[in-house]
Symmetry: C2
Subunit: 327 residues, 2 copies
Amino acid sequence: MEFTFLGTSAGTPTRSRNVSGLALCRAGPKPWYLVDCGEGTQHQLLRSRYSLMQLRAIFITHIHGDHTFGLPGLLTSASMLGRTAPLAIIAPAQVQRFLNSAIENSDSSLNYPLNFIDSEARDFHWQDEHFQVTSVALSHRVPCRAYVFTEQNLERQLLQDRLRAEGVEPGPEWGELQKGNDVTLQNGRLLRSDDYTHIPRAARRMVVAGDNDSPELLNDVCSTSHVLIHEATYTQDVADRVGPWPQHSSARQVARFAQQARVPNLVLTHFSSRYQSGAGGAPHINQLAAEAMQHYRGQLFLARDFDSYRLEKDLSLSCLTASPAGS
Amino acid sequence: MEFTFLGTSAGTPTRSRNVSGLALCRAGPKPWYLVDCGEGTQHQLLRSRYSLMQLRAIFITHIHGDHTFGLPGLLTSASMLGRTAPLAIIAPAQVQRFLNSAIENSDSSLNYPLNFIDSEARDFHWQDEHFQVTSVALSHRVPCRAYVFTEQNLERQLLQDRLRAEGVEPGPEWGELQKGNDVTLQNGRLLRSDDYTHIPRAARRMVVAGDNDSPELLNDVCSTSHVLIHEATYTQDVADRVGPWPQHSSARQVARFAQQARVPNLVLTHFSSRYQSGAGGAPHINQLAAEAMQHYRGQLFLARDFDSYRLEKDLSLSCLTASPAGS
């Protein structure tokens, strides 16, 4: 599994950070998935390996503009560039209203179908051949979700000895069983794939959270996840000064939670634009890393635009473009 | 007068060209004016000298997304960054509907008033202390306008000899007359500023056109203008292949018109993304310049993102960041 940050700034873009967007794929960028779509996401994609033709689904965590205002341009560009394949949009219902208005009031049309799925529906669940996606309700100024991506259809190993012992010799049935399909033999006997195959590793799972002031809401899902991507808009001192209204998390708050939940990999993102990477009077982005490291002993990363990460089958996470914070 | 291109690509952004946006000011960027606001305009502004705090008015030529989808993000960012001053939006009524929906469906609010002015109104006219702005209806798939910016309140020179000859000695009245204000003397006599001052130069005037397949609609206004900024989406061969539906102009078509109308400066923009600046198989942007130069003998420029131009008081135009095409 790989993912690339297309935007890591909260609220407004800066010269080095766009607003929220995350590209995610299982094995190569065909297909890929987008979580949130702030303004300029399509521009960031022009500088990535992800193509609008291969985008399978867009997941929106919540309706705020820094997570949605890139949708009209991205969708109409995909159409102008020749896309005809359907696209799933998993989002609150208000996003559909925003999009319908944008398309109608700009004389636009799309040459492909949009399939809207209400992310706030009680029974929300989405899947394709690569991922099962569930969601967790978060705590923010508007309804907001974390999306949990679990890979599915893992490679199976045939229990060849068992098959032979039961008189099933190599043939097309073996192939079907290995693909996960149940097979009925000519003699009418049903062989269940689960009984004759073995999955030799755990399914990789990652949590991509939207804006949230209560990381503990992710406690259950984090106990079985390998990566948590979570906002850390402020350091704790700034969060205290700003007060509770924005309903964001501090680096300390998320780090403490991740430590307690024993998440092995934590990637922080969605930083207030007050934090900068250069010299000068502005608070430095490293303050967020330093604060988080005081409370979290797992592998910590601070996301930067265009950083790509790979979660290996052995469940190790590495940033392909940078080092872990503090290493 | 100065102007800076924030986007010069038609329809979709490319790696080197954003979709439409033009910043314009009279003397320094306080205040300044924006014509069109494609997605990513606020990002381009972060790389310019123009501040969202000093923006006086936004003029939208037509409702297409590559001219409007940057509005919600730009306006909400201005609010988050602390803007409180009112902002004028001169645009077709559908733009207001798009914006209202974007703000409502993203839980946004603006801490400053928007003053919408219908650019399609029959009596449209706008002015502040720097510019008079009128419009010309163009020919495109949707109603579209060219905006004509004429500077006003030009510096006046006092006719001192005449004042002295009529017994008006130097004093506060001279200052008022020079500012353009009429003055009533203590003896009840009215002095009209126009009678006692002289404007030693012509008012600079430029035409910023939206998408348009009929440049000749600008004939009247171009006869008194010093700069024409006009789209040239295609070379003529591509325009012929594409057919009339998109209702854009070719470089040849605009150049011929500008030559016949004797516009001294022509700046082409809004290039189809098929034209590139690098090596490789794509048609080169220089093809547009070469075609235009065959038909136009004035000073020709092909706009690039972030190119800034200055129209001097002597009516000469120079690009501050590049050379005229073919020079």
